[in-house]
């Protein structure tokens, strides 16, 4: 049960021996933290790229996948020559690194375009879907989860648990196809798929919303139940703090640690691409691109996509870690 309460921290007279660090995250400490983090992230990014580069090239021959089955061995050989795939792995890697340093992430074997262009186009769609969905999810889930926790075991709690658990475990293509049949084909309220207007975004986001919502409601609920029954909340009540909202806000703040972690995890999964939604609704995002590129062994696109999503995820995790310190000043990194 979280006990941290910033309101009381400063008055804590048990600060003997400087064992408890002073509260708050100073400017200087934050910059130092971010700098250290950037270096470490860069190292892990490089490690990721190296790993994917070598491992993916062990898994198959893009020539055989680009050319038809009836292509001769000579044709496949020519294809590999053209794309530098016949060189020893280390030589290929050296070329790749050289290109990357000049901003060139290679060319897509399938699409004959720069891999980075392909990935950035796709990632824009994914980013929009992820940001909009997670914003809606965060607001709605925290609200519903907290209300459920307030009267744990009550009717609203049971109802919201059932709904959120169904949401967390229902197969997403079910929801998508049924939604299209009901809202598009039968009711004609919304378009079936595609990306043209604002209306086109409603179904995809609704489908993407369901699973993270279900999961986060449960996490918020569990965390809030603990926070609401913690000692200081009881103390605050005993001391006469009548306002429910103050208690609510304090409990919420202390329950948020696991919640924002899980929000980050769900957001990361959306940033890696929502394959089903992209496939069914025709949103050309990075999920389907990744799957196709992996199955077609389009190495440069795979690497570029991983690079872009990794940067986004690393950044997000950094923000979450900073948020930890903001939420609970006693946390030091």
């Amino acid at each position: 049960m979280p006990l941290a309460n910033p309101v009381f921290a400063g008055h804590n007279s048990n600060q003997g021996g400087g064992m408890i660090p002073p509260p708050g995250l100073s400017e200087g400490a934050m910059l130092k933290f971010v700098r250290k983090r950037a270096v470490a992230s860069l190292i892990s990014l490089v490690g990721l790229i190296v790993m994917v580069f070598f491992l993916s090239r062990l898994t198959g021959d893009p020539a055989a996948l680009f050319l038809p089955v009836e292509a001769s061995a000579e044709m496949k050989q020519q294809f590999r020559e053209l794309h530098g795939l016949n060189d020893p792995l280390l030589v290929q890697f050296a070329h790749y690194v050289g290109d990357v340093l000049t901003g060139d992430l290679g060319e897509s074997l399938r699409k004959a375009r720069p891999a980075l262009d392909v990935v950035l186009e796709a990632f824009t769609w994914t980013l929009w879907l992820a940001v909009i969905t997670m914003s809606l999810v965060t607001g709605a889930a925290i609200l519903v989860g907290s209300l459920a926790a307030f009267r744990a075991g009550g009717f609203f709690d049971r109802l919201s648990s059932i709904i959120s658990l169904i949401g967390a475990s229902v197969p997403d293509f079910w929801v998508a196809i049924v939604a299209i049949v009901v809202f598009s084909v039968n009711l004609a309220w919304l378009p079936t798929s595609g990306t043209g207007s604002l209306l086109h975004w409603i179904l995809p986001i609704a489908v993407l919303f369901i699973r993270p919502f279900g999961i986060i409601v449960q996490v918020v609920r569990g965390s809030m139940i603990g926070a609401l029954s913690s000692a200081y909340v009881k103390t605050a009540r005993a001391k006469g703090v009548k306002s429910r909202s103050i208690i609510f806000v304090h409990a919420l703040r202390n329950a948020m640690l696991p919640v924002i972690t899980v929000i980050g995890d769900q957001a990361a999964s959306l940033l890696n691409g929502a394959v089903i939604v992209e496939t069914i609704f025709g949103f050309p995002g990075v999920g389907k691109l990744m799957i196709d590129s992996i199955l077609q062994r389009d190495f440069n696109v795979v690497l570029a996509a991983i690079l872009v999503t990794a940067l986004a995820i690393f950044l997000m995790n950094l923000l979450i870690d900073l948020a930890y310190a903001l939420l609970d000043p006693r946390i030091r990194h």
């Binding site: 055989a64 009836e70 061995a73 044709m75 053209l82 004959a112 049949v181 025709g282 199955l295």
Partner: protein
Amino acid sequence: MKKMLILGALMLGSTLSTAFAGSGPIKIVLPEEADLLEPCMATRSNIGRVIMENVSETLTELDVRGDKGLMPRLAETWEQNADGSWRFHLRQGVKFSDGTGFDAKDVEHSFNRIMSDKNSCESRRYFGGMTITPTVVDDYTIDFKADPVQPILPLLMSLLTIVPEETPMEFVREPVGTGPYKLTDWTPGQQIVLTARDDYWGAKPEVTEATYLFRADPSVRAAMVQTGEADLSPSISQLDATNPATDFSYLDSETVYLRIDHNIEPLNDVRVRRALNLAIDRQAFLGTLVPEGALLATAIVPPPTLGWNPDVKVFPFDPDGARKLLEEAKADGVKVDTPITIIARTANFPNVTEIMEAIQAQLQDVGFKVDLKFVEVAEHEQYYSKPFKEGRGPILVAAMHDNSKGDPSFSMFFKYDSEGTQSGFSDPKVDDLIKRASAAVGDERAKLWKELIAYLHDDVVADVLLFHMVGFSRVSERLDFTPTMATNGTLQLSEIKIK
């Protein structure tokens, strides 16, 4: 009174013009995106659907709707010279969409381009195993000399898309062609738009503009035509094809079969191979797991193909006969108990999983031990094409082969020749027949192919041939279009009429 007459005439005139006014834009929804729009890749179906005969044209064209055979397109006539080379007389007054004129030099460049090693043109594989030299005779005449002599060279020319001679060797993203349409918009991942050209040499098509959209899910494609978001979907699933007013089934030139690897015991024994064929109840699949209109296959090429042999009979369903053959083989010491693995590709065609499971059950019923293994494209290719892995067990590879070109030569070498990449055996008589048939003409050619097909089916028992498949398409009621066997790889917009 006069006013009434004029008014009446005007009204009549406007109704008449709407009756003939069938013209306008349409939307087509395809299952996969064309990631390239390079003309020399147009023989790959997902690219050909958009480009072939719409943006880029060929010298000749195969008539898939009737039996006119090979029709002129950019070449008006052609004949074979004394030395075996073919002379093509090209159409005059044709312009590319960039304004330049079409002449023999463009044809020569187009050919050299696909054979170049500076790119990976897919069309090159149709010209493998032979040396072809194009020679420009004059502005509108070009000779193609083939070594060995190719009787079907004019047919091969239906696969060579013509580009202007200024086109660089590398793949282009703005295809320039002589076809009725030009590319006006390409938003990768979202849409491709073709717009009709005013300076096209042929008849003006009714479709003035076509927007291609991409949706991987078949139910969504069907729904889009239903709601009017699209006008045509050349490929929907059988389950959605429930509306007789809009849904059509058509033989789509894909043949499903199990390729037998004759090199590993017990599949090296012809009795075992025959038993495999007798154990399968092909008829039971029709109308259940395979659409009603599908055909039971006796050859790797579908019936309209030259040389298809109507005298070859489908293996009967004879489980007792199969058991007997296995007993015989076992008595001779053949290890018929060795577990055989069927390798299939996931999502290769509709119901592939269920079909393979049913076949497994039928084979096990007569005494075979069968394992199923579903793999993705890359792994499947490694089992299907040579080189085959050392130390492998007996394997059947479930595969689908497409031949809509009208001649078996496109299939036979690769699937049955000793040197063929997907061939599971080696038989000198087969090699000889393939060589002779490929060099023959007319009736002699048809006769030789027929002989080969019968030999492969009845004597060698080369594979377990299963079905010639059927596809389904949905066409909006405001369009008038019937898909053909070639629709998978060539969707000619000029064939689409607007009601």
